[in-house]
Symmetry: C2
Subunit: 343 residues, 2 copies
Amino acid sequence: MKTNLVKADFKKIVSDIDKIDTDTILVITDLNVWSLYHKELDLENNLNGKKVIVWKAPEGEKVKEFSEYQSCLEFFLAKGVHRNCHLVALGGGATSDFAGFVASTLLRGISWSIIPTTMLSMIDASIGGKVAINTGEGKNLVGSFHLPHNVWLNTVVLKTLPEEELRSGRGELLKYAFLNKDIFNEINSDDSDLDKVIELCSQYKLKITEEDFKETGNRKILNLGHSFGHVLERVYHLCHGEAVMWGMVLIFKILDRRDLLNSLQQLKILLNWGEVEPPWRHRHFPTEDIMVYLQRDKKTTSSGAIDLILIDNPGEPLIKSFKFSEVQALLEKAEDELKTFCL
Amino acid sequence: MKTNLVKADFKKIVSDIDKIDTDTILVITDLNVWSLYHKELDLENNLNGKKVIVWKAPEGEKVKEFSEYQSCLEFFLAKGVHRNCHLVALGGGATSDFAGFVASTLLRGISWSIIPTTMLSMIDASIGGKVAINTGEGKNLVGSFHLPHNVWLNTVVLKTLPEEELRSGRGELLKYAFLNKDIFNEINSDDSDLDKVIELCSQYKLKITEEDFKETGNRKILNLGHSFGHVLERVYHLCHGEAVMWGMVLIFKILDRRDLLNSLQQLKILLNWGEVEPPWRHRHFPTEDIMVYLQRDKKTTSSGAIDLILIDNPGEPLIKSFKFSEVQALLEKAEDELKTFCL
């Protein structure tokens, strides 16, 4: 199966949903997104003869709690769902991560599609079928691989996004720029178009994930900036994309790649970041937290080592295994300088 | 991937586990089974340099509750597991259904194997990768498809099984006899050997499930006796296999197949059932419960119909779609006669 990734306005999305071969559409959305778009979609009236069952979840990461997962499954089951139902996720990455895990386990798996409503979910969470919920032990530790049938890109919705969400999206855009030269060039071009960049990122991720669905090989490059980023996100309460950006900065920094730091700074300006200080500047640097986290990371292998993603040149990522002790030594060596470092 | 289905005593099982390419073995077992076999297996001392982490679950269906699922995942995650761990289920069908669902969702899926300790799990639950837990809305409604790497058949453990468990196993054996002529003939042969019958059933199920992993076609025949059986199991508090047997009786009866009922009676005697009265004899017949259940069954399609499994001749199953109204009419027509019917 392949994901059908298409640009679509709400009218086309509704028409595509109407064509899905099922008599029941399950919707998982968050309260805020639903209030913004449910009138325009009007699924209850626009789908010919299909039953629509809507689960409105809490906003943000709260949806990915275990109790929500159980409640949502029991809600749909009590409505008498069957295996031919199709589930539509309408919302950001947390909503689609959650909805996809529900779809992958409800009645041992039903088909599903996504209408992403944040930049981050358009270029990242919506693509590639990695779905999960959180536990007390960490994020995304319980989940599965379950490819959506359709991902509809409607960039009009980005107009209503708060600044923090946009910054989060731009952080992931930066990541893609270092992974793929076309994206790097598009951001750097004189007539750079954000919609075009978003589309390129989604298509790039789709290609990588189709080639390595279960993340046993090259898909790992998509974790650029994430191994450190996840810790920075938690320690400094950053939004995800910003944390990924600083995660990249950190890896370039400890490997002493001034050239990449310069490129990153230039892209940052082109993407309208403005001046942002590193979150660790003049503060305690969380080497210890990073080491604890790395040892719990899903990417950690049995041999006490972790695969980190490095960049040779923009568009040329590589996967390199580091022993925990190596990572710790590199971080400790850089700590003092990091405290006063600016891009 | 294919499942490696082998006859093995505990010594060979331990040696096979030792050869698995991992440094950590997770075990899910029930308290009773663990107390019976952990000394003989002695995994903690018999595996060279592998860490062993054991989750002891409650016995029977209680393990398949949502709260157990969450607790077990959090238990393993707190121990610092990684994607290269291998999970071993040691127990009956409820234990392996549960363990398989944990394996399929822990860190988005880790590999697993099964040491089935009941006849029912050897010939049914262990084979084919259908794993699930229960919810308030019904059994096995949340789960996935996750094939085990190894299933080790050690029929020695059947010696310690209580009579009810053996009866449950024999009910499923009867089902296989109607699906496959070799099994039918083996039970009917003069030197019939129970171990041989069990092996044939496991191999037969493995073949069917390999051909149709996601149960979109022929795998459905394995549900012979189950659509009605599940309701009888609940209404009359029967063990699973016995309920399946009466589910088969019911389908043969409402379709007026005296010849098949005679064959079934003969097999029943050969399998040492003794005389057992139908659970509905002189009691209320649960047509209403059956209809409610069928409409919630995972096999129910959107068109208000359900696929039932019929037998043309022993060894010749067929899948036939019935409208709910047809099923109801057939049951209502048979109700009076069923109350006094004996095999």
